[in-house]
């Protein structure tokens, strides 16, 4: 894989008319490099001279030829390779032309910077290789094969937030009177909820019906909870009457209350209700 770019670039440098190797070779070739600096470093190595004395101009030309070749073959080239090509073309022109105005970077400095970049990457690549020549754990040397378990003793360090200390004082009392104080959290029906339920159940219907028919399911509910259901439904009913959304009727004190959604036309008398069967 690394052989391919070698041939390619040598030819590219030597002849003005680039050879056209098989397209796939070049794709593979570019994929073999870790970015433009790595490619430059590989091109530099082919010059077989010390990086400190290498001709940056020649190297820039080599790189540009290489990329031109790839472009010629209409290959997709990653953007950073092209950015580097543009920068090298700029550097090349700087190296060949007279010095530009002062505010622009100096060509010799640019070349030096590139050289440093190449030397630094080469140093790291060499270091990586040298690191791997060191003896390695589990290959060249070994730690104790059968470690011995050392006994472990736990000595917990206790702490207690002051809140916990203070609330612990009430704990015995909370525990003591389970009979008189063991009230499970109570569920109460709210008026808002009863309003919502009444509105929904009334819908467009305008038949007279017993108020108790509008209570939620009372199975398993008793005492306070059942009373809250009745009270909230009653209050919601009054609220809806006030809002003009329903009508109520009661023949005498404590008799069954009937209600219906309000409509304009009159309805006949309510059907005979089931008498308070749900009243607990």
């Amino acid at each position: 894989m690394t052989e391919t770019p070698t041939e390619m670039t040598d030819q590219a440098v030597e002849s003005a008319v680039p050879m056209r190797p098989h397209a796939d070779d070049l794709v593979v070739a570019l994929e073999g490099y870790d970015g433009p600096i790595d490619l430059l470093l590989n091109l530099a190595r082919e010059q077989k001279v010390d990086l400190a004395t290498i001709s940056i101009l020649a190297l820039a030309e080599q790189y540009l030829n290489y990329i031109n070749n790839a472009r010629h073959l209409r290959l997709e080239i990653a953007a950073d390779y092209l950015v580097m090509a543009a920068w090298l073309a700029f550097l090349k022109s700087r190296l060949l032309l007279p010095e530009p105005p002062q505010d622009e970077p100096n060509a010799a400095e640019m070349a030096e910077a590139l050289k440093f970049q190449l030397m630094r990457l080469e140093a790291m690549q060499k270091a990586a290789a040298q690191l791997y020549e060191l003896p390695q754990l589990g290959c060249d040397f070994f730690l104790r094969g059968c470690p011995e378990k050392r006994p472990v003793e736990e000595k917990p360090v206790y702490f207690l937030p002051i809140y916990d200390l203070l609330s612990a004082l009430g704990a015995p009392q909370r525990r003591r009177k389970p009979d008189s104080y063991d009230i499970k959290p109570t569920k109460l029906y709210s008026m808002e909820e009863s309003l919502l339920r009444l509105r929904r159940m009334l819908g467009g219907g305008a038949e007279w019906d017993n108020l108790f028919a509008y209570l939620p399911n009372m199975k398993g509910h008793e005492g306070l909870q059942a009373r809250s259901a009745i009270a909230s439904t009653f209050a919601a009913m009054l609220e809806l009457v006030k809002a003009g959304e329903l009508e109520i009727r009661q023949s005498q004190t404590f008799s069954t209350i009937y209600l219906r959604g309000r409509t304009d036309k009159d309805e006949p008398a309510p059907r005979q209700p089931v008498e308070d069967t749900h009243n607990e």
């Binding site: 070994f142 730690l143 104790r144 094969g145 059968c146 011995e148 050392r150 006994p151 472990v152 003793e153 736990e154 000595k155 917990p156 360090v157 206790y158 702490f159 207690l160 002051i162 916990d164 200390l165 203070l166 609330s167 612990a168 004082l169 009430g170 704990a171 015995p172 009392q173 909370r174 525990r175 003591r176 009177k177 104080y181 009230i183 499970k184 959290p185 109570t186 569920k187 109460l188 029906y189 709210s190 808002e192 909820e193 919502l196 339920r197 929904r200 159940m201 028919a213 209570l215 939620p216 399911n217 009372m218 199975k219 089931v274 069967t277």
Partner: protein
């Protein structure tokens, strides 16, 4: 290396033996050692040399039924105990006892039990004693002369209190609801909880049908 080794070859073989015994993940049979070192090696002599070298050291070379391994010197084992100090919250029972001692001191164990309404295990007082938050006070002048318990200065410093009088009073605790014995009231699902109401409605439907 202190052992006198005459030839360099012997030295390397002995070092290899030592390294193999060290790195093997289980005791090694004499046969297997011999295979490692080659037929010509005088394994018995080498093992004797190593064993003598390690006899008085922190690890010994020991044989178990023909298998050899390095082991910690038996008399050192107790000294190798690793001590861990995990941070733990004081158990509930102990916090209760501590709170009672703090507010009722000096207080006897019998009194603690009558306040808590449950028996106090010995371990609970032991934990508090070990931490150093309580200490025994005078004996009470009642039949049986029971021991009383009090808190220590360490207790005060753990809770960052200058004196016992800095502990909030019982009335203040009541006001803060910390001594409240009643459970909190909960209401039915709020109006926004459409799903819950919808469930209620179906319940209602069933209820009507049942009639």
């Amino acid at each position: 290396m202190s052992d006198a080794q005459t030839s360099e070859e012997m030295d390397t073989a002995l070092r290899l033996l030592e390294a193999i015994l060290f790195a093997s993940n289980e005791p090694v049979s004499a046969q297997s050692l011999q295979n490692h070192l080659g037929e010509s090696a005088d394994l018995t002599a080498m093992i004797e040399t190593l064993q003598a070298h390690y006899a008085q050291r922190g690890v010994n070379l020991v044989e178990n039924d023909g298998y050899w391994s390095f082991r910690t010197a038996p008399e050192l084992a107790p000294l190798m105990t690793i001590t861990r100090q995990p941070r733990r919250k004081l158990p509930k029972a102990a916090s209760e006892v501590l709170a009672i001692i703090a507010y009722h001191q000096p207080v006897t164990r019998g009194e603690i039990e009558s306040i808590r309404g449950v028996e106090t295990s010995k371990g609970t007082l032991d934990i508090l004693l070990e931490i150093g938050w309580i200490r025994p006070g005078k004996r009470r002048d009642t039949p049986g002369r029971p021991l009383t318990w009090k808190t220590t200065p360490e207790f005060l410093s753990h809770f960052n209190l200058a004196a016992l009088s800095e502990l909030p009073g019982v009335e203040e605790l009541k006001a803060a609801g910390l001594l409240d014995t009643r459970p909190i009231l909960a209401t039915m699902p709020a109006v926004e909880d459409e799903a819950a109401i919808a469930r209620d409605d179906t319940d209602f439907a069933n209820w009507v049908e049942e009639e």
